[in-house]
C-alpha cells in the first residue's frame, strides 16, 4: 500500500500506530476471515451448491431473511415514532426511556432470549394473554420475530435522533406559512429529510437481525424447516464436524453482510451529504 505522508506533519508515532493497527487487524480479523473463503474454495462448485441449497438450508434463509426484514420494518415504524417523541415532546420519564432504548445493546443476548421465552410461553405474562386469542409465540416463527424486533430496536432510534434534532425549524415554518397542514408538512418536508437516516437505521437493524443467534435460539424452538435460523444451521453442521458445509453457508451469510455493509456506508454518506447541504 503506498502511503503518502504530508511533509509538514510533525506528530510522532505514525509508523508505530499504523503498523500496529494493520498487524492487529490482520491477526484478529483479516486472516481468520480469509480462512472461511479459503476453506470454501476446497469444495467443488457442485459440493458448494449442494451445501448451500439443501431444502432445510433454504427454509432457514427464508425464515432468517423474512423475519429480519419484518423485524426491521416494525423497528423502522416504531423507531421513527420513538425518535420523534424523544426529540420533540416532553413527558414524564423521558430521560429514562431515552436511556433504556440502548438496553438491547447492553443486555447479553442469552438473557434476552430466556426472558422473552419465559414471557411469551403459555404461562408467561404475555403468553397467557395471547393464548385465548389462539396466538402462539414461543417456539414458533413468531417468536423469532419478537426476538429480532428486540435486538434491532436501538438502531433506527439512534440514527434518527440526531437528524431530527438538526432539522431546520425554518423549513417547517415556511411550509406552515405557505398553507400546508401539519400532515402535509410531515409527508412533504420532514419525512423526505429523514428518509436516508431512516433507511440507514432500517438496514443496520436488518443486518443485525440476520446474524443474530443468542436471543433467537431459546424462543424459536428450532424445528427444522419451520423455525430454524441460518446461524443455527451453521452451528449444527459444526457439531457434526461438517466444517466445509458450515463454512459454505457462512460464506453465503458473509456475502449478504458485506453487501449490507456497503449499502449502510453509502446511506450514511448520503445522510451526511444531505445534512451538509440543508
Amino acid at each position: 500500500m503506498g502511503l503518502t505522508l504530508k511533509p509538514h506533519n510533525v506528530l510522532p508515532g505514525f509508523g508505530l500506530a499504523l503498523g500496529f493497527t494493520l498487524f492487529y487487524l490482520s491477526l484478529i480479523v483479516l486472516i481468520p476471515l480469509s480462512a472461511a473463503f479459503i476453506k470454501t474454495a476446497t469444495l467443488t462448485w457442485e459440493q458448494f451448491w449442494a451445501a448451500v441449497s439443501a431444502p432445510r438450508v433454504v427454509a432457514s434463509y427464508q425464515l432468517s431473511f423474512g423475519a429480519s426484514l419484518l423485524a426491521a420494518l416494525i423497528n423502522a415504524f416504531f423507531g421513527l415514532i420513538l425518535a420523534w417523541v424523544l426529540v420533540r415532546y416532553s413527558f414524564v420519564g423521558k430521560r429514562i426511556v431515552d436511556a433504556l432504548v440502548d438496553l438491547p445493546f447492553a443486555l447479553p443476548t442469552a438473557v434476552a432470549g430466556i426472558a422473552l421465552t419465559a414471557l411469551y410461553s403459555e404461562k408467561g405474562w404475555i403468553g397467557q394473554l395471547l393464548q385465548p386469542l389462539g396466538i402462539k409465540v414461543s417456539f414458533t416463527p413468531l417468536g423469532v420475530l419478537v426476538a429480532l424486533v428486540f435486538i434491532g430496536l436501538p438502531f433506527v432510534v439512534r440514527t434518527l435522533q440526531p437528524v431530527i434534532e438538526e432539522l431546520e425549524p425554518e423549513l417547517e415554518e415556511a411550509a406552515a406559512i405557505l398553507g400546508a397542514s401539519r400532515w402535509q408538512t410531515f409527508t412533504r418536508v420532514i419525512f423526505p429529510a429523514l428518509l436516508p437516516a431512516l433507511l440507514t437505521g432500517f438496514t443496520i437493524s436488518f443486518a443485525r437481525a440476520l446474524g443474530e443467534y443468542g436471543s433467537v435460539i431459546f424462543i424459536a424452538g428450532n424445528m427444522p424447516m419451520i423455525s430454524e435460523i441460518t446461524p443455527l444451521i451453521i452451528i449444527t453442521k459444526l457439531e457434526q464436524y461438517d466444517y466445509a458445509g458450515a463454512t459454505a453457508i457462512a460464506v453465503v451469510m458473509l456475502m449478504a453482510s458485506f453487501t449490507l455493509l456497503l449499502l449502510i456506508n453509502y446511506l450514511q454518506w448520503k445522510t451526511r451529504k444531505l445534512n451538509a447541504t440543508a
Binding site: 472461511a36 447479553p108 438473557v111
Partner: protein
C-alpha cells in the same frame, strides 16, 4: 423573525419565545398524546417488561434459592471466567483503538476510508461466524490444528479461543468511538505541545489523553458490556466444559436447558444488572460531555 413580530422582544422570555416559535412546528395535542402513548407502549412491552421479568423469575423462589444459585461452584467459576475474559479483551482492544484512531485522525494516507470499513467489519458479521473462523484456523482440522496438537496447545475448547472470539466481536468499539472524536479535535494542540518541547509520550499523556478520556471511557464501557455478554461466538469455541470454559452467558444457557430456570435467571439477573450499570454510566458520560461542550 415572523413569530416574534406580534410579541415585543422585551416582553417575551427566551423560553416563551421558543414556545411561540414552536407553535407551528407542533402536532395537535391528540396526535401528540397518541404518539407518546404508542412510543411508551412499545418501550414498555419490548424493553421494560422483559427486563423486569428477568428479576422476577430470578427472585420468584425467594432470596435463599437466589443466593444459592449464584454461589454454586459452577456459577462462581463462570463469573470468574467472564471477568477474566473482559480483563483480556478490553485492554487489548483499548490499545488497538487508540493506535488506530491516532494513525487515522492525525495523519493523511491512502486507503484510510477502506481501513475504517475494515475496522467496522466485525460488527456486521454474525457472532456464530465470528466463532467459526477461529475454529477454521485453530481447530483440529484447521490450519494450525495439527501443529498445535503436536505441541499440546489447546486454543479451541479452551481459554485462548474464548479470548480471541471475544476480542473479535468487541474489536471496533473503542476505535469507532475515538475516531470521530479525535477527528473533530484536530492536531493543533498536540503540535503546540511538541513545539513547546514536550516529548511524544508527554504530549500523549498531557494533551491527547485528557482530551479523549470521556470518549475512551465510553468505548471501554460498551466494549466491556459486550465482552462479558457475548454468547454466540464464545459458544462456538468454548466446548461448554463446566467449571472450565463456561462464561456467564453459557452457564445461563446450560442451566436453562436443564430446566433449572431459577439458576438460569439468577445468573442472568447479574448480567442484567451489568447492562443497567452500563446504561447508567453511558448516560452519565453523555450528560457530562454534552455539558462540557455547552460550557466551552
Amino acid at each position: 423573525m415572523w413569530d416574534t413580530l406580534s410579541y415585543p422582544e422585551a416582553l417575551v422570555e427566551p423560553g416563551q419565545r421558543s414556545r411561540v416559535r414552536r407553535g407551528v412546528r407542533e402536532e395537535p395535542a391528540a396526535v401528540r398524546y397518541l404518539l407518546i402513548g404508542a412510543a411508551l407502549l412499545f418501550v414498555g412491552l419490548m424493553l421494560i417488561v422483559p427486563l423486569s421479568s428477568v428479576f422476577y423469575e430470578a427472585l420468584k423462589k425467594g432470596l435463599d434459592v437466589y443466593f444459592k444459585a449464584i454461589t454454586d461452584p459452577d456459577a462462581l467459576s463462570s463469573i470468574r471466567l467472564t471477568l477474566l475474559v473482559a480483563a483480556v479483551a478490553v485492554p487489548a482492544n483499548l490499545v488497538f483503538g487508540v493506535a488506530a484512531a491516532w494513525a487515522i485522525t492525525k495523519f493523511e494516507f491512502r486507503g484510510k476510508n477502506f481501513l475504517i470499513t475494515l475496522i467496522d467489519l466485525p460488527f456486521s458479521i454474525s457472532p456464530v461466524i465470528s466463532g467459526l473462523i477461529y475454529v477454521l484456523v485453530f481447530g483440529l482440522q484447521g490450519w494450525l490444528g495439527p501443529w498445535l496438537a503436536e505441541h499440546d496447545i489447546k486454543v479451541i475448547f479452551a481459554l485462548p479461543g474464548i479470548f480471541l472470539a471475544t476480542i473479535f466481536v468487541t474489536f471496533p468499539f473503542v476505535a469507532r468511538e475515538l475516531i470521530p472524536l479525535m477527528q473533530a479535535q484536530g492536531k493543533e494542540e498536540e503540535e503546540a505541545a511538541l513545539v513547546l518541547g514536550a516529548s511524544g509520550w508527554q504530549m500523549f499523556r498531557r494533551v491527547t489523553l485528557p482530551n479523549i478520556k470521556w470518549g475512551l471511557l465510553y468505548g471501554v464501557i460498551l466494549c466491556n458490556a459486550r465482552a462479558m455478554g457475548e454468547f454466540g461466538a464464545v459458544s462456538v469455541v468454548s466446548g461448554h466444559v463446566r467449571g472450565m470454559t463456561n462464561t456467564m452467558p453459557l452457564h445461563v444457557e446450560i442451566a436453562y436447558n436443564e430446566y433449572n430456570f431459577t439458576a438460569a435467571f439468577a445468573v442472568a439477573s447479574l448480567l442484567a444488572l451489568l447492562a443497567l450499570v452500563t446504561l447508567l454510566l453511558k448516560t452519565f458520560i453523555e450528560w457530562r460531555t454534552r455539558r462540557n461542550t455547552i460550557s466551552l
